[in-house]
């Protein structure tokens, strides 16, 4: 199984190699990097390119880790024990009818290899992270209520993303392959743009990218990233803006700069 990118996603050759190594070694791949560098997209594209089902977990700070494996619906069972009827199709005496499997659980129990995305893992506690990594490393977890061990039939291709809001612990890092996606340079960026807007004209692209990278260098609190650039280009094309663009009067500036302070600062600079 080799990953070669897809038509909608520009894949840096290095990253491609990394994904393939991580898959061969059955290791979770931790991708870090600025917002808009395509961290989350990577998992989607792996799943698309290799035609594997994606199991997606968007992490929240309240996660304890276990709910990604399974959730035992006690309330439903209690309710069924009181009001349950045959129509529900659930048997109150059978706990399996009340176990809901989370993304990890589904990925482990599937009869084929799946892609598992743990998005923004840094939002969770370090305890949660360690628990999750134990599960992912062993490829198994235990359903505590019935002391049943669920073992992965196929190790999922695991992609973990982090915005590095909080430092990840050393043991966590040790168990992953870590890759930091640098922000794409102008050439890579133009390829990315072309994937999304194949008809874009070269002059528009060039002058837009020049402004975009110029804005990025201004040290804004929230520098515009790929997603903002794509939004902006979309707006420019819809509106039929003709190049060359002047850096002094950037149309749809709000799509690029999101923070009021940044906007004000930019306006003051130009004034």
């Amino acid at each position: 199984m080799q990953f070669h990118g897809t038509d909608k996603y520009y894949l840096n050759p290095e990253l491609k190699e990394i994904v393939n190594i991580a898959m061969a070694m059955d290791k979770p791949l931790l991708v870090t990097g600025e917002a808009g560098t395509g961290k989350t997209q990577l998992a989607f594209q792996i799943s698309r390119a290799l035609d594997l089902t994606l199991e997606e977990a968007r992490c929240k700070s309240t996660f304890k880790g276990e709910e990604l494996c399974y959730v035992y619906d006690t309330v439903l069972r209690l309710n069924d024990s009181r009001f349950g009827t045959k129509e529900s199709g659930r048997d109150v005496n059978n706990i399996w009818d009340y176990l809901n499997f989370g993304p990890i659980g589904r990925a482990f129990m599937a009869d084929e290899r799946r892609v598992l995305l743990l998005d923004e893992i840094d939002k969770t506690d370090s305890d949660t992270q360690d628990n999750l990594l134990d599960v992912l490393e062993d490829g198994s977890f235990i359903i505590r209520e019935i002391n049943h061990k669920v073992k992965a039939k196929y190790m999922p291709v695991t992609v973990i993303t982090s915005n590095a809001k909080r430092e990840l612990s050393d043991p966590f890092l040790r168990r992953c392959y870590c890759h930091h996606i640098p922000f794409p340079d102008m050439e890579e960026m133009s390829r990315i743009v072309r994937l999304h807007y194949p008809e874009i004209t070269a002059p528009l692209m060039d002058s837009a990218l020049a402004i975009f990278y110029h804005l990025r260098e201004q040290g804004f609190e929230k520098p515009p990233a790929t997603a903002e650039l794509l939004d902006w280009l979309g707006a420019l094309q819809l509106d039929g803006v003709k190049p060359p663009l002047s850096p002094d009067t950037v149309p749809f500036l709000g799509t690029l700069l999101k923070r009021t302070q940044d906007l004000l600062y930019h306006k003051r600079e130009k004034a």
């Binding site: 990394i18 070694m25 006690t74 009181r82 870590c178 890759h179």
Partner: protein, 409 residues
Amino acid sequence: MFLPFFYQLRDQGIPISLRYVLEFYQALEKGLALDLDRLFILMRLIFVKKVEHFDAFEQAFASYFLGVEGEAIPRFTLQAWEEKDFSRWLEEELAKGTLSGHDLENLSLPELLKSFWEVATAQKGKHRGGHTWVGTGGTSPFGHSGAEREGIRVEGDSLHGAALKVIDARRYVDYAASATLRAENLRQVLAALKHMAPAGPPTELDVDETIDQSCRNGGEIELVFKQELKDRIQLMVLLDNGGASMRPYLDLVKLVFGLMRDQFKDLDYYYFHNCIYGCVYSDPQRLTLYPIYQMLRRDPETRLIIIGDANMAPAELMLSDGAIDYFSKVRVPGRDWLWQIRNYFGHSVWLNPIPRHQWPQESQTIFQIGEIFPMEDLTLAGIRRSVEWLNSGAPPKKTSSRQLAVGSA
């Protein structure tokens, strides 16, 4: 074949363990390093876990495989020797007797490291599953003395002597409940602090209680929720960093709470000297003011720990010109400020580095402040009790005679 390269990585300050080396060989067996580019990526994935090490790795790789010397790559450094795995290995070798103290004196650092890796990689087969003896903890008695002679001198003449020394040092005495806070018993302190009460909304279904209540309810389901057990609380630490009696504890205190950092939703330190007046400071140099009226707008559920010796001239505490309020110019004695804080933050405690039994001799202000805040000393037992104080949120024993209009300042 890559062994010298592994040394070089360690040398560059990249912490690599045997586990990585084994993983690397497994990857080689799978044929994942077909060319130099792939080898580079593979090695980086396996050995480099942090962005800050990427550059060092690239340099080492360039120098080893491409013969490119970028910026002068430093030779073996002492720091690399303090890596835990290695020193642990040394300890074990010394214990087994394969290395003697004499060898340590005479072998050069590179020679020692080399034999370490030889042993490490020779055991590849045996340790495939375990990886236990390399990569676990262990403290380093090495590396801090004999750099100038290229060897590592171990303190103490022989191992026999060292063992006696250890016994004589009564290592475990630090773990007793009466022990004061120090590096050795940090772990217990952490464990004690972890017992902070559950915070947050009651969202977790209490199954036992639910069933119990439902039965009492004649079978009608009665859902009972409990608070999630989670140490997600805000903590504010006020540190007296002025007095001499505090100095030995400052770093430790910060270390303790630093280690706990992600247990807390918020953790802030502020500093003061002797007693608190109109403000505390957000930097240890006490230059940046953090006014009390701002502090009193925080979430009153915030846990407050004040750490100070509470030892001051009575005037500082009791007299209104003990200090001048920076904001309203109203002269207010420190005691009233403390009351103000105490009344606002129900979950608060004062930790005193002076052992409890010395309090009567030290100063009367200790007792005066002890009337305002629950006061404990910095022993394990004291810290445990203070966690109880923090959890229960003991009401103030009495209210202040004067209420301050700080909010309007």
